[in-house]
């Protein structure tokens, strides 16, 4: 039984991670990760500054259709 529970728990976690990534909820965390890996010499943006830029960029091109 604990095995099944563990399985369900891990599946739920996976689905939750997918949902967060799809909606952009974890965009800042991913940015921090990417930043520490590739650009650790540059200053890190605050959560709210990053989010503003992220949204501006997202809506610059064709994002929604008929």
């Amino acid at each position: 039984m604990p095995l099944l529970l563990e399985k369900i728990l891990s599946k739920t976690k996976y689905a939750w991670a997918i949902l967060r990534q799809l909606s952009g909820d974890d965009a800042y965390e991913r940015y921090v990760n990417h930043h520490s890996l590739c650009h650790s010499d540059e200053p890190l943006l605050s959560r709210s500054a990053f989010f503003k830029g992220w949204q501006e960029k997202k809506w610059h091109g064709i994002k929604r259709c008929c």
Binding site: I18, A27, F51, E56, G61, I62, C65
Partner: protein, 686 residues
């Protein structure tokens, strides 16, 4: 072996379902047969046709690094899990189009539209989306316009740019018209739709100032508030003092939508557009899933006949015969050129591996096509008489309820005034006659389906929920489209005076937004004052524009295939292109030259001009007549312009192919060089 058995089984079931749909006449058929045929058709096409194209024609290379890997910069180029890319891609391509088109095309009966959605989808739309996605991926995620310029030449590039701009204007106008018609003299719908604006702003402020970047929290709050707004609309509808504030005619609503569009284009993205999009995406996915489950659960009977007498072109909803107008009316859901703009540019920058292209490009479109099938079912489970009473404009069936029902019943689709009154009362509306545009009849269909599962007492709530759901993402498309139009216009104006090209310079923002909004606002205004219901004019114009854009995408793809030495397999895009050429040209020819006043723009203009000069028009119609006459002539010019653009690009593509074949120099393939992928499979893909 087991695999072979499974696929043979699917083929047999699919063929049986298809046979039942195509051959049953007279008796009603069950919606489950349509669902079965659709699912089998998509699965088989995905398993065999799409797999064959990716393996033998495009030759996907999983070892090749994608632009997301090579150019990874952490914001637009990011290798992403394929399910996430699929989600983004599907959310971007699935708009209100596949819901409205099939609803209108149901005037021919359920069969023509259903067959076109299935066949056009698997052989046309899915292929277009997939090959465009593939070619753009091989070219660092370049846009359709850039690819047209690089592969065919400057003519192709300019044609793609102008095509995109004009289709945006027409699309926003027609979607605006759908929303206006859904809110006309309906305080409940109007107040609910209006409430979505402050709700979106509240969510925007929450995600910007209170809890920055907490998208899911903000969305949960927003969706709860939206559901509450549906309830609250009912209270306003019952309240004698508040009611008149939300009870407007079409023209006032059109001005409100125009004013809203301008405000949305100049407000910051985080305040209105972005939060509204989160809400609309969640609502869209939730509602569509619920609709699918409900249809499978209830297995309703289709009440519309397979074919109606209107296949000859005498239909009340829009003029024009089955050929070519069913193919023009249903663009999104079968083949939509607009998708090529998303499949090039945005999606390719996220792909972690080329092998995901089949699922995202082909699979994404197959799912959208399935949404169109469900819209067709929701429209055809209504009593045909009711369907025609809701969707026929007053200019065709008459303003008086008794006259309208007599006319509709005389076509062989019995309906009574009492029946319509009772239905309107159940839905919490004052009337459901002549509620054109497709949204109200889809909402009645959806509400009836949902209410059969959850109880009839909630009909009015479901109806207004469905209206709100459609309005929310129509308004998102309107905001996003106006903004894209603004950027494109600023880009073009920047060539005249560089200062105008600065996207953050306020005078330029105001000027270009005003120009784009007045562009679509004009067509929306005309659509609202047109006594025959603007849908009759605007929807075919939109369909022609969308198919033209698809033809541009297919031309670019065919050109690239031929230049890559794949002349023998180029039919995968050339065949749908040929079909689009035939239907768009025929439809455009008929829209311009037909002597039928409901079909031909020029005939309608001349007819109205004659009536005006003879003094046959009542004073209020005589006032609007000069504008309507001018507009009909303008529409004829626009149609000719679209068709000219289409033929220019096709000839340009044929020229490139011929030159390549005869050994003359053509522009070289602009594919980026091969670099081996270094991403570890499990790292990004799962």
């Amino acid at each position: 072996m087991l695999n072979k058995l499974l696929w043979s089984g699917i083929a047999i079931i699919g063929a049986t379902a298809m046979g039942i749909i195509a051959l049953s006449r007279g008796e009603s058929i069950n919606a489950l047969w349509i669902i079965t045929a659709a699912v089998c058709c998509y699965s088989l096409a995905y398993r065999f046709y799409a797999a064959w194209i990716t393996a033998k024609v495009l030759v996907l290379d999983p070892t090749r690094a994608t632009p997301a890997e090579r150019l990874n910069n952490g914001h637009d180029f990011i290798p992403t899990n394929k399910w996430i890319v699929f989600g983004h891609h599907f959310a971007a391509i699935a708009g209100p189009g596949p819901l409205v088109g099939p609803t209108l095309a149901a005037q021919f009966g359920y069969l023509p539209g259903t067959l076109w959605i299935l066949i056009g989808g698997v052989l046309g739309g899915c292929v277009q989306d997939m090959v465009t996605l593939f070619f753009s991926t091989r070219r660092d995620g370049r846009s359709l316009g850039q690819m047209a310029r690089d592969e065919l030449g400057p003519i192709g590039g300019i044609a793609a740019l102008i095509g995109t701009m004009t289709i945006m204007i027409i699309l926003i106008a027609v979607l605006g018209l759908v929303v206006v018609n859904a809110m006309k003299h309906s305080p409940w719908a109007t107040s609910t739709v209006m409430a979505t604006i402050p709700i979106a702003m509240l969510v925007g402020l929450y995600m910007r100032l209170i809890r920055p970047g907490r998208v899911l929290e903000g969305s949960i709050i927003g969706v709860s508030l939206l559901l509450f707004a549906v309830f609250a609309g009912g209270w306003i509808d019952d309240n004698a003092i508040l009611r008149p504030y939300f009870d407007h005619d079409g023209l006032s609503l059109a001005w409100l939508v125009i004013g809203y569009g301008f405000a949305a284009a100049i407000l910051p993205v985080w305040l209105l557009l972005a939060p509204r999009d989160y809400l609309s995406t969640f609502l869209k996915l939730g509602t569509i899933t619920l609709l699918a489950i409900t249809i499978v659960w209830l297995r309703p009977d289709i009440k519309m006949p397979a074919l109606t007498p209107f296949i000859d072109g005498s239909g009340p909803i829009f003029g024009g015969a089955l050929f070519p107008f069913v193919f023009i009316t249903i663009a999104c859901g079968a083949i939509s050129g607009f998708h090529a703009l998303v499949a090039s540019g945005t999606t390719p920058k996220l792909l972690a591996n080329e092998r995901d292209i089949r699922m995202i490009g082909y699979g994404g479109m197959a799912l959208e096509s399935f949404v169109a099938i469900m819209a067709m079912i929701a429209a055809t489970v209504l009593e045909p008489g009711v369907y025609f009473a809701i969707n026929s404009p007053a200019g065709i069936v008459g303003k008086e309820a008794a006259v309208a029902v007599a006319k509709i019943s005389s076509w062989g689709f019995p309906v009574t005034v009492e029946q319509m009154q009772q239905l309107a009362q159940q839905m919490g509306e004052s009337t459901l006659f002549a509620r054109t545009g497709g949204a109200p009849s889809l909402a009645v269909g959806m509400a009836s389906l949902f209410a059969s599962v959850f109880g009839n007492s909630l009909l009015a709530l479901w109806y207004h929920f469905a209206i709100m759901f459609e309005a929310v993402f129509i308004l998102t498309t309107l905001d996003a489209g106006t903004r894209v139009g603004r950027f494109m216009l600023q880009d073009m104006l920047g060539n005249l005076w560089p200062k105008l090209g600065e996207t953050s310079w306020t005078p330029s923002v105001l000027l270009s937004s005003a120009l784009v909004v007045s562009g679509w606002g004009y067509f929306l205004y005309i659509g609202v004052i047109d006594p025959n219901g603007g849908v009759n004019i605007l929807w075919p114009l939109f369909g022609i524009a969308n198919q033209m854009l698809a033809a541009i995408a297919l031309s670019v793809a065919t050109g690239i295939l031929v230049k890559s030495g794949k002349l023998k397999q180029a039919w995968i895009t050339a065949a749908p292109l040929l079909w689009l050429l035939i239907i768009t040209s025929t439809a455009a020819w008929q829209k311009v030259t037909s002597a039928d006043v409901r079909l031909g723009f020029l005939a309608a203009a001349d007819d109205l001009a004659q009536k005006l000069s003879l003094g046959l028009l009542p004073p209020e119609k005589a006032m609007a007549a000069p504008t309507l006459i001018f507009n009909q002539r303008l529409d004829a010019c626009i149609t000719l312009f679209f068709i000219a653009l289409l033929w220019i690009i096709v000839f340009d593509m044929l020229r490139v192919c011929y030159w390549h074949w005869s050994g003359k120099p053509v522009l070289p393939l602009s594919e980026s060089p091969h670099m081996p992928s270094r991403l570890v499979e499990d790292y990004v893909r799962d």
